[in-house]
Symmetry: C3
Subunit: 269 residues, 3 copies
């Protein structure tokens, strides 16, 4: 256990909620090192939050405690959980948010949080980030044993992330999110692509864009031209050199998540 606690939420930055959670952590462990991963997850989107967390968690040192609160079911029947993998801890709602990580990691222990001694004295039905998840994380950072926090569960909620699949000569994927630069990040991994077309001589079709080949860097295309490349997260990305790929999506520009992407072998191959 180290004392690094990360926060990933859909709370935005225009309210005092994130600051309040930090106050709660420091009230329990004044030596905690708190790091924001992102607070602008799409409101209520467990898939969006899960994807961000999966991209980020492994860059933190061993022992880091990751708190994530995308929690549309707060105050209802969903369980609050804490989990331990080989290198990290995770605290948040049991709604699938951590599922992609649980699937990838070995040695995952998941506990249903029920021991109230680790919560704030008064638990509201609308803000468990403040009342349950951050206090639990702060106690973990002081060395509390997660096995003392509740009973082990074997059935955490499964999150169905859309996966790329091949149909005849075509690899079908979709846009998972658009980033701040307008880059469109797909669910097609490097392995998916290599398995489909080891040569890399493919055509990528997204909206009305028809893109030839996979490039290595933004600057390998002309300014303003669309390109496809393996993004820093390990997934295929559609970008425009010094521009915004999202603007070229046509009808899907405003809600890019879920827009279809298809990859075909190039005819001349």
């Amino acid at each position: 256990v180290n004392s690094i606690i990360t926060l990933t939420t859909d709370f935005g930055l225009s309210d005092p909620y994130v600051g309040i959670m930090k106050g709660v952590i420091l009230g329990i462990n004044p030596g905690a090192c708190i790091v924001d991963i992102c607070h602008q997850v799409e409101a209520g989107s467990v898939i969006n939050g899960a994807a961000m967390l999966e991209e980020a968690y492994g860059f933190f040192p061993k022992g880091t405690i990751h708190v994530a609160v995308i929690d549309p079911g707060v105050g209802g029947v969903r369980r609050p959980i804490v989990a331990r993998t080989r290198d990290y801890f995770f605290v948040g709602p049991d709604n699938g948010l951590f599922w992609p990580i649980f699937e990838k990691e070995t040695d995952v222990t998941v506990i249903h949080l029920t021991r109230e001694a680790y919560f704030l004295p008064h638990v509201s039905r609308t803000f468990h980030g403040r009342d349950i998840f951050t206090p639990v994380a702060a106690h973990l950072s002081l060395g509390a044993d997660l096995l003392s926090m509740g009973r082990t569960i074997m059935d955490p909620v499964v999150l169905r992330m859309p996966v790329a699949h091949q149909e005849g000569d075509v690899l079908h994927g979709q846009i998972i999110r658009m980033d701040h630069f307008g880059n469109l990040i797909t669910n097609i991994s490097e392995q998916d692509l290599v398995r489909f077309a080891a040569t890399g001589h493919v055509t990528v079709i997204v909206g009305q864009m028809i893109i030839k080949d996979i490039k290595g860097a933004y600057s390998e295309s002309a300014k303003g031209e669309a390109l496809a490349l393996m993004g820093s997260s390990g997934y295929l990305e559609i970008a425009v050199n010094q521009g915004r790929a999202g603007d070229l999506l046509g009808a899907d520009s405003r809600r890019p998540t879920g827009a279809p992407v298809s990859i075909r072998l190039k005819a001349e191959d």
Copy 2:
């Protein structure tokens, strides 16, 4: 005194101003722990800033120094102040920003900041957050005595916050702010409501929404349905399960602050 310093401003996040204030603090006390409460207070809105700070301050450990800079009168006649309550310190302009806290706390000492040794060497007339408030906070965090920073004042500026009031069978309140989720937070406290209708069998009217009863959690209403519940801040809140209550406000959607809320006893009671 601990070394936690919080920042609440209307500076936004697209300029270097907040980063500069952090540099100033660390230049004086490299061991300070700086926490952002919120930097997206509505520009120049002392009421909005005061409400956020009042909601957040008490979640921090004893000895925390709260700096707040919503300061439309900077460079004019308004006084810079530092205050001490039983558990906290406050530094900022004397424009009412801390008034709701002063009213609630006992043992409040307010000092007019005049001792220039605690300021930056050059004090501008446009950025006292950098030149006066954060240097003072950093010196406090090193143990400087606030009584050495200027003279005690007995007349800090009073902020008139709109309060809920009963008129015949109706409890009148208003929307104080809309949060990132589109939830509408009112000025009707749990005590106001209990005093008005101990049973909780009431009808809440906001814009064209007519909402029956007070619920306990977002998930107690159907998806997309408006509900009223006690929010995490201790005030009545209008929300939509997995939606945005602010969008249902009609004419007031764009400027929800100040929109009237009325509560009536249910006829059948």
Copy 3:
């Protein structure tokens, strides 16, 4: 060397990229103190980023390591660099981002980063902030010698910032950026102005605004009235008391950067 590392980027706050860079730093130096200067630099605008960094860097304590990543040329031929001035370190792309600081400081050493031992094991072609710049900064904060990181270069990329110039009776400048309050910050420094008109009796013309004299504080003009004053950054600023000067720019309101500002001696002088 202290262990303060600042971050200035155009990554925005809706992706996990900034959080990932912090994880990388803490993985190398868990004791680092990481401070955000700004992550909302205009996407790809080296000039905008350079101006922010120049405004902020000097407020941090000696030994601070400033990382800046506005990097449209990532993955291409531009060099990654680290630099040392008398008091600070700078890490980022060699695209002019640090040029205004190099020009102002004496004793500047610039190194072309080539020693891969200081990078992450796998260096992508799209995210050098994560793979090169933050790991290098973290190693610097642990005391690594920048001379061991690559060879000294004498030809860092020069950034041509637009400068104010006099033409007959008129001083010509331009808007460099609009801040969160709608204030328009120009490239006319206090020295430029004093040299042009020691008396300060001037008329400032921006868009359709004609502003008389230079004021000392926002509150010296009537509410809603435009005024010109020396801003906290040491440059002439156009503001509106309790309003947004940017909204009065007319045709240039949406893209204020680059809009012309001219200053004339007042006829009656």
